[in-house]
Amino acid sequence: MPRCFLYCQSEVMRMMFFVSFARRALFFSPFVPLLAACVMVSCNRAETERAKAFAPPPGEPKYSVTVRRPAKLHSVPVAKSGEMEEELQVACETCHSITEEGRLPQRAAELEEFHVGLQVSHGDLSCRSCHDQEDARSLRLADGRNVPMRDAMDLCGQCHGPQFRDYRRGSHGGMIGYWDLSQGPRVRNNCVSCHDPHTPAFVGMQPVFPPKDRDVIGNDSQEARPRTSSVSASDAKATARLP
């Protein structure tokens, strides 16, 4: 609308502006269907483009996920001997082929004579919670079935449901390989890869190098070494700065 329209005081003048404007707009009338067609086509294209953006991810999974199985135990360490303090390994069958399968003890300490140095720290569990009474070579599931030792994951999952569910969904446990299974395989850990069944708490470790920031001792020279921090609160206050 031309600006002078706004300054028109009388209704008649405004009406005249409308009419003249409409007359000018009439010039475009043949092009209106064409314009409508263009708008419809672009709307459709936008829709199909939007649909393509949410298309399913690349391809069907062609490659498999392999779960590492625990290694088969053939022997256990029983003592240290010799000048180099080597661990003496005794094959399981040495004893378990000749002794009759007796009853499992109540506590691991009763096995100290044969399974030297066996530490068990798994909540309140006893040996019989997992091991089969009669057959030393297999584990006993909660529903009474026996499984070989290498399929321990089934047994772990029976009590540790939330962790097993997280594991199945890919949120627990390490893996290497491909996130996109249509391009390559994946290898996953099993429970025993990280958690020793007798002392399953995840073992701590010494961390890798800290960054050599500019506000550490020695600044950014060749001799820079990280500011070592003890766990006490006062030290934490002294060293806590986001570099």
């Binding site: 393509k52 690349p58 949120s171 961390p207 003890s230 766990v231 934490a236």
Partner: protein, 300 residues
């Protein structure tokens, strides 16, 4: 001939000082002659290079790496996958702060050995507190320590990234698969993005990175882990030279506790989607509105 006056003497002195100052100011150009070629100087922005020009750039960079570091590498230009938007999640109930992710990043991305640079910083935080100001990245004792939890921080590839908004030359931008990329040859090294990032995820190369030839990772990409020149910004790229071909990032594979989850947010069956839909998930500094693609979650 007019006798020399005090005025002429001062003019000559001023002129001499001015010329000396000009020569001193131009002195850095002498160093520039050694480091850069004309092709380097005239190279255009990544987004403006066509296929031929890109290949020429890659060959030139490979030759340069061979000359300067003594290692023959292969640098590729890997484009984003269709229908993929990357997401990354980290399980804080499980992370023990061993920094093996930072070490894997250091090795995979050819970081400067002298400064132990890495895109990942692991903060040791007090249990019960989310105060990032009190996070300590320089701890050096056995982990996990009692009363602490560990928070690894790297570039979050934000949807509303402050670094992208402040770059005066648009050397950093958000790619279609969610990764915020940096063109090292276009960056002018002003460090505005480093100041703008609320997570301190961007690293500046104060010196030329030094990496022994036998430790260089030869599988490189233009936008991620090729050898960076001095004076440019770099940051985590979700290992795009691996993830754009379907592989997991190096930090995820190195984690001994299995705390990291990576995948395609558009795939309803992916692990990352399950975590976001079923776990107690949060992001850092949500109130800033950066909308990160890196999520943290707890198991309980």
């Amino acid at each position: 001939m007019k006798p020399h006056t005090r005025r002429t003497a001062l003019k000559v002195l001023g002129g001499t000082l001015g010329a000396a100052a000009f020569a001193h100011a131009m002195a850095p150009l002498r160093q520039w002659q050694e480091g850069q070629s004309v092709d380097d100087f005239l190279q255009r922005h990544y987004k403006e290079l066509d296929r031929e020009q890109m290949n020429a750039v890659l060959r030139r960079l490979e030759a340069q790496t061979e000359r300067e570091y003594g290692k023959s590498v292969s640098i590729r230009d890997i484009r984003p996958m269709q229908g993929v938007e990357f997401g990354y999640a980290l399980n804080l109930s499980v992370c023990i702060g061993c920094r093996k992710c930072a070490e894997a990043c250091h090795v995979e991305n050819n970081h400067d050995r002298r400064t132990n640079n890495s895109y990942i910083r692991v903060l040791e935080m007090e249990q019960g507190s989310m105060d990032l100001e009190k996070g300590n990245a320089n701890y050096d004792h056995a982990v996990p320590a009692k009363g602490k939890y560990y928070l690894p921080v790297q570039c979050h590839q934000c949807d509303n990234a402050p670094c992208v908004k402040v770059c005066p030359v648009q050397a950093t931008w958000k790619e279609p698969d969610g990764i915020v990329a940096v063109d090292y040859n276009w960056c002018i090294g002003c460090r505005y993005c480093e100041a703008a990032c609320p997570y301190h995820a961007r690293r500046f190369n104060w010196t030329k990175p030094e990496v022994p030839a036998d430790e260089i990772n030869p599988d490189q990409a233009y936008l991620s882990n090729r050898m960076r020149p001095q004076g440019v910004i770099e940051k985590c790229t979700f290992c795009l030279h691996r993830t754009r071909e379907g592989r997991m990032p190096a930090c995820l594979e190195a984690c001994p506790a299995g705390a990291r989850v990576f995948g395609n947010l558009l795939d309803p069956d992916s692990e990352i989607r399950w975590v976001l839909e079923n776990k107690r998930v949060f992001v850092l500094k949500e109130e800033l509105g950066t909308r990160p693609r890196f999520f943290y979650f707890f198991d309980e």
